[in-house]
């Protein structure tokens, strides 16, 4: 029932996303008017696909991260992953301005991996009896890396770019500028392929080893998936906060944590949430646009606070 509603919401938002924006066109026109068709293929369709891909991938990245860290309150943008990726692109832009987008993404992924590994190593040392310490640590850790990014940006007068990377929005997404994002779909597929291993991993180190899982290798693979998803979305869309945090938590409440079964639903819900926020951003001050990261900052923070509150009162 809930699943059906989620599917319906997703389909409706896809339709809305395609027909809303500066430059109106109706479904009727889309079929007959070549200009409208052009708009559809060059801008609206890419934008809708990009939003859906980003939402799905970020949610799945959050889910994986939560399994790796064994803490429900972490996600790439609150663990230094996204900020490290932004640092990576910044360094590439400064040192090799001519590098292709793919190269920049690759380097961003590597830095994201590095930053996340440091976070993971620290997080595994924090006392497990204090579940809120890990996300708190991650948030500030991300903030510190963000400060480094801003500092360099200021010194090199690249602040404007940094805003593009750190403040996610879809208005720049057109045909030819988003296709790398399909890489996140590949990552999500890999995640689904190794879903059972990730679930075993989330049962802890001892259980994993007891069940013969190659613990370190699975951990590293999970980290790579998370890092690549973060880097791709940061490079093309920019940081979008809270998606990876709230979506997996909401889905886990209803469907549990068996990743084999939940990954598709986490992806779908994440896509729906991001599409919804993007559509909202386009409607709030029509015909101007509000970046999706700003809308999500409000919607996501409220959802996250609610999550924390209900858990605190439950426990």
């Amino acid at each position: 029932m809930v699943k059906l509603a989620a599917c319906a919401a997703f389909v409706m938002l896809v339709i809305l996303s395609i027909f809303i924006g500066a430059g109106e066109f109706s479904p009727w026109q889309a079929i007959h008017d070549p200009a409208a068709l052009q708009l559809f293929f060059a801008s609206r369709l890419p934008r809708t696909i990009a939003a859906a891909l980003t939402g799905a991938a970020l949610s799945i990245a959050g889910l994986i991260m939560q399994a790796l860290v064994r803490n429900r309150f972490v996600e790439p943008s609150t663990a230094g992953t996204a900020q490290s990726a932004a640092l990576g692109i910044l360094i590439m832009t400064l040192v090799f301005p001519a590098a292709s987008l793919a190269m920049k993404t690759l380097f961003a992924s590597i830095l994201a991996l590095l930053g996340t590994s440091i976070f993971m190593m620290t997080a595994h040392r924090l006392p497990p009896a204090q579940p809120y310490l890990v996300p708190l640590f991650g948030l500030v850790y991300g903030g510190v890396i963000g400060a480094v990014v801003t500092f360099i940006g200021w010194q090199t007068e690249l602040l404007q770019f940094i805003d593009i990377w750190t403040n996610g929005e879809f208005s720049g997404v057109v045909r030819g500028r988003y296709e790398l994002l399909w890489g996140t779909a590949l990552m999500a597929a890999i995640a689904w392929w190794i879903a059972d291993r990730l679930t075993v991993l989330s049962l802890g180190r001892d259980v994993s080893i007891g069940l013969g899982l190659s613990y370190q290798r699975t951990l590293q693979l999970g980290l790579v998936i998370v890092s690549v998803i973060s880097a791709l979305t940061v490079v093309i869309v920019g940081i979008i906060p809270f998606v990876g945090l709230v979506v997996p938590n909401l889905v886990s409440r209803m469907l549990g944590d068996n990743l084999r079964g939940t990954i598709p639903w986490v992806g779908l819900s994440g896509a729906t949430l991001v599409l919804g926020c993007d559509v909202l951003g386009r409607l709030l001050r029509y015909p101007y646009e509000i970046p999706v990261a700003t809308v999500m900052g409000v919607v996501g923070a409220i959802l996250f606070l609610r999550l924390m509150f209900t858990r605190a009162t439950h426990a």
Binding site: V207, L211, G256
Partner: protein, 252 residues
């Protein structure tokens, strides 16, 4: 057979296990007893490669622990940890299903599913099969974890205090299940027990540890003497004989 040869362990100069040499034959139930901190959990986790060996050697059916591929070992040896906290929201059926992971790596076949159903039945968990672990009572969760370990279908099972949180009924039930599984399928169980009388009633062999050393080793009748028990636990207790097995009046 599990061979433990000259195994010692220390944590930051604090000795935990002292040059332990033990052979655990295939088949039967071996009970590991001893006071808190004797090193029982440490010994089990060394056998199960959960922590690296410092000195000595451990062989499981001739396979050296540490250099044998983890997955191969997982098909021969299962461990239930003492603090089996599970934070994930899995249903009881899903959790037990993950016990089959070493055999199917995530792609469960019909045989795996049948084994899960059998385990659910054996531990009377059918009614709880679709419940999430985090909604169960401590004892129910413990039974689910034990079922998961049994479901792994290994020749050797290492169980660290499996009776934790269980009421009398389910504790007895568990020990009887263990007995029947061991007897019918020629499997081997090494169980840490705190209730010395559970060991006396159900074990074929008892190994008593204290301060990282083996103090006594043998059948219940050999090990459970007043002198041995005083040596291990630090006070004298009376021992009676009922139906050919010792009964320790530990609480008096």
């Amino acid at each position: 057979m599990i061979r433990i040869e000259n195994v010692s362990l220390s944590h930051r100069d604090m000795p935990i296990l002292h040059d332990i040499t033990l052979s655990l034959e295939k088949g039967g139930i071996t009970a590991l007893v001893g006071p808190n901190g004797a090193g029982k959990s440490s010994l089990l986790s060394l056998i199960a490669r959960l922590q690296p060996l410092q000195t000595g050697r451990i062989l499981v059916d001739g396979l050296p622990v540490g250099s044998t591929p983890s997955r191969l070992l997982a098909q021969r040896l299962a461990i239930l940890r003492q603090d089996g906290a599970v934070a994930s929201r899995l249903t009881v059926r899903e959790l037990i299903g993950f016990g089959r992971f070493p055999h199917h790596q995530g792609r469960a076949g019909a045989a795996d599913i049948a084994l899960v159903e059998a385990a659910l039945e054996q531990f009377e968990l059918q009614a709880l099969a679709e419940r999430f672990i985090d909604t169960l009572s401590g004892g129910q969760r413990q039974r689910a974890l034990v079922a998961m370990t049994f479901c792994q279908g290994t020749d050797y099972m290492l169980l660290d205090e499996p009776l934790n949180n269980l009421d009398m009924f389910h504790a007895r039930q568990l020990m009887r299940s263990l007995r029947s599984i061991v007897d019918e399928r020629q499997r081997t169980a090494i169980v840490v027990l705190h209730d010395i009388n559970q060991a006396a009633a159900h074990a074929d062999r008892i190994v008593a540890l204290r301060d990282g050393k083996v103090i006594a080793d043998g059948t219940p009748n050999e090990v459970l003497t007043e002198d041995n028990l005083e040596l291990v636990f630090g006070y004298r207790m009376q021992i009676m004989q009922i139906a050919g097995r010792p009964l320790v009046l530990q609480h008096l």
